[in-house]
């Protein structure tokens, strides 16, 4: 457990430093009257209508997120394998090739289906 003492200190110190940076303006900064023009968000000078939370964006971004989840979980499986790879020998190599083969089939499928194209 004693390994984690410096981790604890790092987290606390970093949190304090960042919290001070983020909130220092509240203490040091001036306060001015609010008005509609000043409070408006900056959208290149256009008057913003409604909220931005209904904005539509390309469905591609969802695909990227889905593909990321699939591949990232696979990569996580590779770390323990990589650490003890020398003990596993050829058996471990063949096992991982089967695993990776399935991954590559999925990757090729995504590529052929155009999930990686940006138009």
């Amino acid at each position: 457990m004693s390994d984690y003492i410096p981790v604890f200190f790092t987290l606390v110190f970093a949190a304090v430093i960042v919290a001070v940076m983020v909130s220092l303006n509240r203490i040091l900064g001036p306060r001015t009257e609010a008005n509609a023009i000043k409070d408006a968000v900056f959208e290149c000078g256009n008057e913003p209508t409604g909220t931005a939370w209904g904005v539509r964006f390309a469905i591609k971004f969802y695909l990227v997120a889905l593909l990321f989840i699939v591949f990232d979980v696979e990569v996580v499986f590779m770390y323990p394998w990589a650490v003890i790879f020398r003990e596993l020998g050829w058996f471990g190599f063949v096992e991982m090739m089967v695993f990776m083969g399935i991954l590559v089939v999925g990757y090729m499928y995504a590529w052929r289906k155009g999930a990686l194209e940006w138009r």
Binding site: D3, P6, F9, M21, V22, D39, W53, F57, A65, Y107
Partner: protein, 366 residues
């Protein structure tokens, strides 16, 4: 008791190192970019006009923070006030604590106790770094969402897609690095790079994993969202991307987070591929030069040389990233995604297979 004191001092030292280097890089970037573009750069620093010469980098290190932290704390109408304040915190906090896992020297004996010269003394250091680096995505996502600004939202969506794409290539390239070292412990990796190969060449990781080095360096630069990869904050399209609605100290947090990530990438590349704190041919008892034999050096000098070697290597890679940032134009978004998904991902995968096969073919497996 002393365990707590040593832990506190170490963590504070590393945090100050990262913060100072980030602030200093800001100045280097201003003056360095001016040098590259044949300009003069920031040159109006003085105290009430009484100092007869230009105070140079006081500009960035003193005047800018004073100006930034005395701005009004401004949150536009319609923003989510809590998330708006949380976002800069989530951007800077992980960037600051990542560097803690990187060893900056060999263990030293201090008052009868062995002190490891790194803050997070874990045998899963690399996993710690991966975890903290991927937390950086939240800062961008929350900032764009909380701002209630269309351009900020688009910027944060672009940014998150880019960061997770490159994280994948980075993670795969790190697998091949772990394969060749056989450990997740950063200190063990640096120790492994202390030998020499062929009698003279320091056994640095870059000679064994050149492909992984290029992938991790490029992916790291993409993670820090700086120019060739600054699509999320492309100013000609999205104003300033996800931090459009930020000012003052919050804006400074985002800026510092960028530079802290530059420092982290430099530290990671140094540790994995360029021997970390290893000074070439320097062992614990002195220099072992290839042809000239051994030169004895005291333990204190060895430690100082190691600290110096580490700092110089980190500074070099920081400078290299700034050089790239001011030399290469911005990618288009499809080029960016193609490079990540169709270029670096298959290459990293092939590199893992090749590394594994090579290790077994050389008979290192049991």
């Amino acid at each position: 008791m002393s365990l707590w004191a040593i832990g506190a001092v170490k963590s504070l030292l590393v945090l100050v190192f990262v913060l100072q280097l980030s602030a200093f890089l800001l100045w280097i970037e201003r003056k360095g970019s001016a040098l590259i573009q044949n300009r003069i750069g920031a040159n109006r620093a003085n105290i009430f006009g009484v100092v007869p010469f230009n105070l140079g980098f006081l500009n960035t290190l003193v005047a800018d923070p004073i100006k930034m932290f005395t701005k009004e704390d401004f949150i536009p109408a319609g923003c989510d006030r809590f998330l708006h304040a949380l976002a800069p915190f989530m951007a800077l906090f992980p960037a600051l604590i990542t560097f803690a896992a990187i060893p900056f020297g060999d263990s030293i004996v201090l008052g009868g106790e062995t002190v490891e010269l790194r803050v997070v003394d874990l045998d899963v250091g690399l996993l710690y770094i991966l975890a903290m680096v991927s937390m950086g995505v939240y800062g961008a996502v929350i900032a764009g969402w909380a701002s209630n600004n269309r351009w900020a939202l688009l910027g944060s969506i672009r940014g998150s897609a880019q960061m997770i794409s490159y994280e994948l290539a980075m993670g795969l390239a790190l697998v091949s690095v772990v394969l060749s070292y056989g450990t997740l412990d950063m200190q063990d990796m640096v120790h492994a790079q202390g030998r020499t190969v062929l009698g003279f060449l320091p056994a640095w990781g870059v000679f064994f994993q050149p492909v992984a080095f290029i992938i991790i360096f490029v992916a790291g630069m993409a993670e820090s969202k700086r120019v060739p990869f600054d699509i999320p904050e492309a100013e000609s399209e999205l104003i300033a991307g996800y931090f459009t609605e930020y000012s003052g100290g919050k804006q400074a947090s985002f800026m510092l987070a960028d530079f802290a990530e530059v420092v982290v990438v430099a530290g990671l590349v140094t540790t994995l591929f360029f021997g970390g704190w290893q000074f070439p041919w320097l062992a614990a008892d002195g220099f072992h030069l290839p042809l000239m034999g051994t030169i004895e050096v005291s333990a204190l000098v060895v430690t100082l040389l190691q600290l110096m070697a580490f700092s110089l290597k980190v500074l070099f890679f920081c400078w290299l990233q700034i050089l790239v940032r001011w030399t290469v134009p911005r990618f288009r978004y499809d080029q960016l995604m193609d490079l990540g998904w169709k270029g670096m991902l298959p290459i990293a995968l092939a590199n893992v297979v090749f590394t594994a096969a090579l290790i077994l073919a050389r008979g290192e497996g049991s």
